[in-house]
Amino acid sequence: MSTDVLDTAVLRTEIRLFRREPGGIFWILLFPTLLLVILGSIPAFREPEPSLGGLRPVDAYVPVAVLLGLIVGGLQAMPVTLTGYRETGILRRMSTTPVRPAALLTAQMLVSGGAALLSAPVTLAAGRLAFDVTLPRQPFGYLLALLLALLGSLALGAVLSALSRTTKTATAVGSAALFPAMFCAGVWLPVEAMPDVLAGIVGWTPFGAAAQALNEAAAGDWPGGLHLGVLAAWTLLLTAAAARWFRWE
């Protein structure tokens, strides 16, 4: 099947190429779970913590690890690949065929996004099996927040790729964006444990809003409209920016 923006042969090829890259598989699919397992092996992480409202740190870290997969997939893996495809003329070469180079961008986003999404059940399963972390009590709300966060992450990655002329820049810019994104997602300090002022500020960032929406859904509530709204607004804004600034060559 082939349309302007999707070509199944291109998608199959990109999936195959992704599977050949051990780095991508490790960082997107396994690293978040590995981090959860390492942190969960520390006894203190399995003791209820009053600052987390009685949750154990390992409980609070499951949504964080889920977000980490999305962040690595969107900000670290995809922009470098896309920028490389433009820099080395792969997009241009494709422009001379009946298939549009947009098909390659779509395929890349689906592969990075798909891998990032796949890392979520792996993390949830590891949390449940190894540390007895309850599965999200509001699964539909959780899935909605997850999908919005994924779109936001891919859109941010596309903006980074649009702004980077070379793969070197894309790597540097991706890493520079990675740390604030990880901080907002709560990798160093879960959002629930942040002081109120800080949590309030972080809640206006895409990954901070995503972390709070995931926490609410994990606890069994429908994610708050504000958090989902912030996430959706970022996604729209970033998508528009990527479409505006992306250059094919």
Binding site: S2, D7, A9, V10, T13, R16, L17, R20, E21, Y85, T88, G89, I90, R92, R93, S95, T96, T97, P98, V99
Partner: protein, 300 residues
């Protein structure tokens, strides 16, 4: 019947005209060369033909289609090998051929194509580990995989060793024998002289000349070159008085003259009359190289 029509093509980058009024027509089944110094506007011209760039002015038609407005239709009849491009580093030769074949409604069979290009032993090799020559051959294969009526080859043999270059030339002749029209961008004169039916010499964004390679050579001022080492010095006045002389050069006791057949006759008469023996006498036809330098030196 013409398959490519370019009329008064213009394209500027940041106010500087890269292509400044280029016109030419490529007939079906011919090998048409675009020749010119670096930065002359050759690549910009063919990129407009491929639909990769939008002309500022002028008209480009490929089998009657507009490469920009009818881009997809044009990509089905025109295969391109770009001057600089790569593929995904992890893609194998076979995967690249299968993938690109899937883009076309009626692709060529990639197996004989790979065989003909010497890629058969490399089918499972990843793009990143192919040599320069192997990559170049893969890109030729990809240009042909859609079974096009026209192929555009941009600096095809740059970076190839002489042996690989000659093999590639044979391949291009094969391609044409199969009925495909070839638009060839090159800066190798030998390549143009050997392969092209007609050549457009582009200089500073304009067509400086358009003719057969032989026609271009005939046109140039010094079509015949005579060189020898005289046994005794010759009078410079006698030399410069030779008919239809284009140039005289002295170097290490050797005299090199360029002119026409009449110049050759006259210099032989002069030598006999002066009782001077011409050691290591050589009379050669000028090459396309000489014609090219002639055409472009006014502006160089």
């Amino acid at each position: 019947m013409s398959v490519i029509d370019v009329t008064d093509l213009r394209k500027s980058y940041g106010g500087r005209a890269a292509v400044d009024g280029v016109s030419f027509t490529v007939e079906e089944g011919e090998i048409f060369g675009i020749l010119g110094p670096n930065g002359a506007g050759k690549t910009t011209t063919v990129e407009c033909v491929e639909g990769l760039r939008v002309p500022d002015a002028g008209r480009v038609r490929v089998t009657g289609l507009d490469p920009v407005a009818d881009h997809r239709e044009v990509t089905r009849v025109l295969g391109a090998q770009l001057q600089r491009s790569e593929l995904q580093p992890g893609l194998t030769v076979r995967e690249a051929l299968e993938l690109y074949a899937s883009f076309y409604p009626h692709p060529a069979d990639w197996r004989p194509l790979a065989e003909r290009l010497g890629l058969a032993p490399k089918l499972t090799t990843r793009f990143a580990t192919l040599s320069g020559g192997q990559r170049q051959r893969l890109f030729i294969a990809l240009a042909l995989i859609g079974d096009p009526r026209i192929v555009v080859l941009d600096e095809l043999t740059t970076g190839l060793d002489p042996r690989a270059r000659r093999d590639t030339w044979e391949l291009i002749e094969d391609i044409r024998a199969g009925g495909v029209t070839v638009l060839l961008v090159t800066h190798f004169m030998e390549e143009a002289q050997r392969l092209c039916d007609r050549v457009a010499v582009i200089d500073q964004g304009r067509v400086a000349a358009l003719d057969t390679p032989a026609g271009l050579i005939r046109r140039s001022a010094g079509a015949t070159v005579i060189s020898f080492t005289p046994s005794a010095p010759l009078d410079d006045h006698d030399l410069t008085a030779l008919p239809e002389l284009a140039s005289v050069r002295h170097k290490d006791g050797r005299v090199t003259l360029s002119g026409t057949d009449a110049t050759v006759d006259a210099v032989l008469t002069l030598l006999a009359r002066s009782r001077v023996t011409a050691h290591h006498l050589r009379v050669t036809d000028a090459t396309l190289d000489d014609a090219f330098l002639d055409l472009t030196e006014a502006t160089a």
